[in-house]
């Protein structure tokens, strides 16, 4: 299982703040997980297909498309940060 979190506009667009799911077969990286989620339908496709305006963290560390994802990980998708 992995935990996936969505924040800010992404959370609103997807209507979901978090979910737990079995690590899908063949998914080994952030890019793979993103592709898997986008295949869920039009809403997911458009929300996650924001090009470079999407950020991903794995286990609380900023991640790249090639960052590995393992069972037990917490993966978060969110827009560029705007604190401070």
């Amino acid at each position: 299982m992995i935990k996936v979190l969505y924040f800010a506009k992404l959370r609103e667009d997807l209507g979901k703040a978090s979910e737990e799911l079995a690590l899908p077969g063949g998914v080994t990286t952030v890019a793979g997980l993103r592709a898997h989620l986008m295949a869920r339908g039009a809403t997911w496709q458009s929300a996650l297909e924001q090009g470079r305006a999407l950020r991903v963290a794995v286990n609380h560390e900023m991640a790249e498309p090639g960052t590995p994802v393992h069972a037990g990980d917490e993966v978060a998708f969110f827009p560029p940060v705007t604190g401070g």
């Binding site: 609380h60 827009p79 604190g83 401070g84």
Partner: protein, 156 residues
């Protein structure tokens, strides 16, 4: 605790006093407060909601403070960031850095703000008379943070 995420307001005088009380070698106190302006991109702002990523936020801020300590000769630092509902003129963020001399304290304080702006998972949503909107990330913040990126070292 050098890093705090909280809904309550903060008092810069009290935070500086706490840092100074812990160390008598302090000669320089550099600080920064970010506040809610009542106008953003030309629209009046009624309230601001700050969302964050609990767990990652604390880690990101602690990492940024550790990085500042490794780069400059400073004695201590405090970072406080508010979350939840904020009104125009409210305080949002406080960074205080204490050191022996001012150059390192100033540099570390500005670095902490620049890195926090681009690396700590906070998001602002504005409520205006015309409706609500998520605040866009500013390119100028990326540029400010880029200044602090060290050139990669060749490993011989």
């Amino acid at each position: 605790m050098p890093v705090r995420i909280q809904t309550e307001d903060f008092d810069i005088g009290r935070e500086i006093a706490a840092l100074r009380a812990a160390n008598t070698k302090v000669g320089a106190v550099a600080s920064f407060i970010g506040t809610v302006r009542d106008v953003n991109d030309g629209n009046a702002v009624a309230t601001l909601t700050l969302e964050h990523y609990p767990g990652m936020t604390e880690k990101a801020l602690e990492d940024i403070v550790a990085e500042a300590r490794s780069r400059w000769r400073i004695i201590d630092a405090t970072v406080i960031h508010r979350v939840g509902e904020l009104k125009p003129l409210d305080q949002i963020v406080l960074v205080v850095v204490v050191g022996e001399h001012r150059g390192d304290a100033f540099a570390a304080c500005e670095f902490l703000m620049d890195y926090l702006k681009t690396r700590a998972p906070f998001w602002k949503k504005e409520q205006t008379p015309e409706g609500s909107r998520w605040v866009d990330a500013r390119g100028s913040d990326d540029i400010a943070a880029e200044r602090w990126v060290k050139p990669k070292q060749d490993v011989a």
